[in-house]
Symmetry: C2
Subunit: 198 residues, 2 copies
């Protein structure tokens, strides 16, 4: 069980059509950037091993003025290997969530510092949410009729569900943090009712 996920990610991209390493990178960045990424340092060496294993074939396209394109295409064996991975159930992966880790140690810093932290996180999620909305529109337009479209929209929807859940969590958490500061301040100075509405 030492499966290399990057290998399958690259094979998956190649299943959409023959591509160069450069193209693959661009694909990662524009289509799946919100849940996956691969760098050249992974892509180029892995393309070589895919060829060695018989999962892909390479052909060279000469271009004028631009460097040659090394175009890779999945073989039948490669497609079969990919399918086998796709049907294998995903096992739960414990991601590293930095905001949660920092908040877990929140007692070490002041309440306003924690609030600042959560507010900043909320903003990143709001931006992400907007990007996903834009991506949804773009992909619906550009890929109308493409048989992959329904699946692609499901992955966008995944991100949308997560971001809105996190924004909600931020709001709840900010409320709780504000209550904590309010309690602390009450003993020092009362009548200090700052706006807590949201």
């Amino acid at each position: 069980m030492k499966e290399n996920k990057s290998k399958y990610a690259i094979m998956g991209i190649l299943s959409l059509g023959p591509m160069s390493g450069y193209d693959i990178r661009k694909m990662f960045q524009k289509a799946v950037a919100n849940f996956w990424n691969e760098s050249y340092g992974q892509i180029y060496p892995l393309l070589k091993t895919l060829v060695d294993e018989g999962f892909a074939v390479k052909s060279i396209e000469k271009q004028m003025g631009k460097p040659d394109r090394h175009v890779y295409a999945l073989t039948d064996r490669g497609r079969e290997e990919l399918r086998q991975w796709l049907v294998e159930p995903v096992e739960s992966q414990i991601g590293r969530i930095e905001i949660a880790l920092k908040l877990f140690f929140g007692q070490q810093i002041s309440a306003p510092d924690n609030i600042r932290q959560v507010e900043h996180f909320r903003e990143t999620q709001r931006l992400e949410s907007e990007e996903l909305k834009a991506l949804e529109e773009r992909v619906k337009e550009e890929k109308a009729g493409n048989p992959n479209l329904p699946y692609w929209l499901m992955t966008v929807n995944y991100g949308q569900h997560v971001t809105s859940a996190l924004i909600q969590w931020c709001d709840e958490t900010l409320l709780a943090l504000n209550k904590m500061t309010a309690k602390t301040k009450k003993g020092i100075k009362k009548g200090n009712k700052k706006e807590c509405s949201r």
Copy 2:
């Protein structure tokens, strides 16, 4: 910006009190397992560097029958270093979400295979959700009065928001996948109305 997160994670655990590497591992497993993890292979070498950098001090507790405990405690400098990290805003990290990647390539496999995949994922989230509920109860009971408690509950809440959002996403996605198969089958045999309610 080559910050080693594991280092800060370990310092954070040490901020809760002096501990051995063994204790630290246990802490990760029982308190933050749903969003962070560290293996011995990381913990022991990093504890050594923490001492070298002056962020922790080591003392040895002898025990009878059991191996010695190497107990580490944060120094003032260590606590300061930790605080500096805690207030630094988290930058968005693009996690690798395997279920989304597989679904992105869903066209390569059959609709029932995709359904099986999402149903399995849903089940992992349901289990996770139950574990979080149990963790919440346990921590509320065991850590009543502990000043860390409110922060710890916020991190549990994070997980709860995410899991319920994902369960909802699974239901939506399963509905869409079922519609897709229904459409495909309509042309072949009609009157075959399998239950799609949920």
